[in-house]
């Protein structure tokens, strides 16, 4: 690995940590107060309420996936691979996508359930965005890269412009892999949903048992462990 690669890794890591701190401040300082416009406080007396809420997340899931696929096409087809922002975006996506989904689930439960003390739409939005977007982008990217260069050359040689090449040739060839990626992501989301349902059922008793739960240090230990493992894995892959 050369020096510029290292610098990009460090920048990616730094922005991730800053993003985590921002989320932390947002959740504890901003959304803790009554002015939480995005959230409708939710009484988790019945688990059907949570499942109902998960059903309502399906449109959001679809939108997130479509946007991620579109974004993957943008960075693969329009951005040049040699530019520094392409590499930084890629580094971020691979770090985020490599974090096990369990970590996200625990983070969501810890931060929002225990710290904020209520379970809102915003929580689910954030969880789904973190779970869905990086992995969808990554699988779509590899699907696009899997399309043979000769197909592009043949289509370009016929005078097709970039849009026609993408819609008529790259997309149909990448489509099976993209759908495969989408199903992987759905299974991730379902796994976390199951986890959340179980934890939420236990919630009342946990909070009663633990009392004033010292959450902040544990969460940061979790975040740093997750990031460390991902950075290590991306180092080892090189």
């Amino acid at each position: 690995m050369n020096r510029s690669e290292l610098i990009i890794q460090i920048i990616a890591l730094a922005t991730l940590i800053i993003a985590c701190v921002l989320v932390w401040i947002l959740t504890t300082e901003v959304f803790h107060v009554e002015g939480d416009i995005l959230s409708v406080p939710m009484d988790l007396d019945s688990e059907s309420d949570l499942i109902d809420r998960l059903y309502r997340m399906i449109p959001l899931l679809c939108v997130a996936m479509l946007l991620s696929i579109a974004f993957a096409f943008y960075i693969e087809e329009w951005l040049s691979e040699t530019t520094w922002y392409y590499r930084i975006i890629n580094q971020h996506i691979s770090i985020l996508a490599n974090i096990p989904s369990l970590i996200y689930g625990i983070l969501v439960v810890c931060i929002f359930l225990f710290q904020v003390g209520k379970f809102s739409n915003f929580t689910l939005v954030l969880a789904i965005v973190f779970l869905v977007v990086p992995v969808t982008i990554q699988t779509t990217q590899s699907a696009i890269r899997g399309v043979d260069l000769s197909v592009r050359e043949a289509a370009y040689a016929l005078g097709a412009n970039r849009w026609q090449v993408i819609t008529d040739h790259v997309f149909p060839r990448a489509f099976p892999k993209i759908t495969g990626g989408v199903f992987t992501v759905i299974s991730r989301v379902l796994a976390i949903a199951v986890l959340l349902i179980i934890v939420c059922e236990l919630r009342t008793s946990i909070i009663q048992d633990v009392g004033s739960y010292e959450i902040s240090s544990n969460v940061f230990v979790l975040i740093s462990l997750a990031l460390l493992s991902c950075v290590l894995s991306s180092f080892l892959q090189k």
Binding site: T82, V151, E153, L158, G159, A160, Q164
Partner: protein
């Protein structure tokens, strides 16, 4: 004779490695120019420079000028229009993931042609020219990638003809085609010469001898010699290495 393409001092580098070391020659209108030479001599690179698909390769630099009808192709803003003027046939067939009909109708459709009758005419004409019409006329809706290798290659030739190019570049088109079909395509090329300029890159020197009006011999990125085919294949061409290559002493 009018010059269709004028190439002067063309240099191409892949990174630091030179692929073409400053070659210059002209291509006349309505001729078949055979380009022969062993592997790594820059033949395919030359064709890719002409239709500007070399730009998809990372780390390349192109110096010198390529004039098409007196216009430098690297100063043209609309590269897609340039590529529509040039038909390209690659060594191994690349079936686009479309039906046979759509494969041939693809290029006319990208130029905005929607009339079914006209498209039908173009498809039939191109497939006939590529000696494929009789074999596929009953199954134009089946996938182009399902055809055999030789048929797919003829399909790519039909596709290259579909936008009525002014220049047709054939890059070792006969690799995946059987000898009988090759002869049929060669007959078609002789007819097409009246309508367009043909650049024929080939590993088969005898093919250049049969078809080409003039022949260029390239070696390691240099243009060794370009002359009338009769001269190149005679007993005393301009360069000794040409004689050696044509007669199979090396390469």
């Amino acid at each position: 004779m009018k010059n269709k393409i004028e190439i002067s001092d063309l240099k191409v580098y892949y990174g630091e490695k030179p692929a073409l070391n400053g070659i210059s020659f002209d291509v006349h209108e309505n001729e078949i120019l055979g380009i022969i030479g062993p592997a790594q001599s820059g033949k395919t690179t030359l064709l890719k420079v002409i239709n500007r698909t070399l730009e998809f390769t990372q780390d390349i630099s192109v110096q010198g000028s390529v004039m098409l009808d007196g216009v430098d192709i690297y100063s043209i803003g609309d590269v897609y229009a340039l590529r529509k003027q040039i038909g390209m046939v690659l060594p191994l067939p690349v079936g686009l993931p479309l039906s046979i009909y759509d494969n041939v109708a693809f290029a006319p459709r990208t130029s905005g042609l929607r009339d079914k009758v006209e498209l039908d005419e173009i498809v039939e004409r191109c497939l006939t020219q590529a000696a494929l019409w009789d074999e596929v006329k009953d199954r134009l809706d089946s996938l182009g990638t399902k055809l055999s290798g030789g048929q797919q290659q003829r399909l790519t030739i039909a596709r290259a003809l579909s936008h009525q190019p002014e220049i047709l570049c054939l890059d070792e088109f006969s690799i995946a085609v059987d000898p009988i079909t090759t002869m049929r395509i060669e007959d078609v090329l002789k007819d097409l010469k009246n309508e367009m300029t043909i650049l024929l890159v080939t590993n088969l020197v005898q093919q250049a001898k049969r078809l080409a009006n003039r022949t260029a011999f390239m070696l390691n990125g240099d243009l060794i010699e370009i002359d009338e085919t009769d001269v190149i294949f005679s007993d005393n061409p301009g360069q000794e290495s040409t004689y050696d290559y044509v007669n199979g002493n090396f390469g």
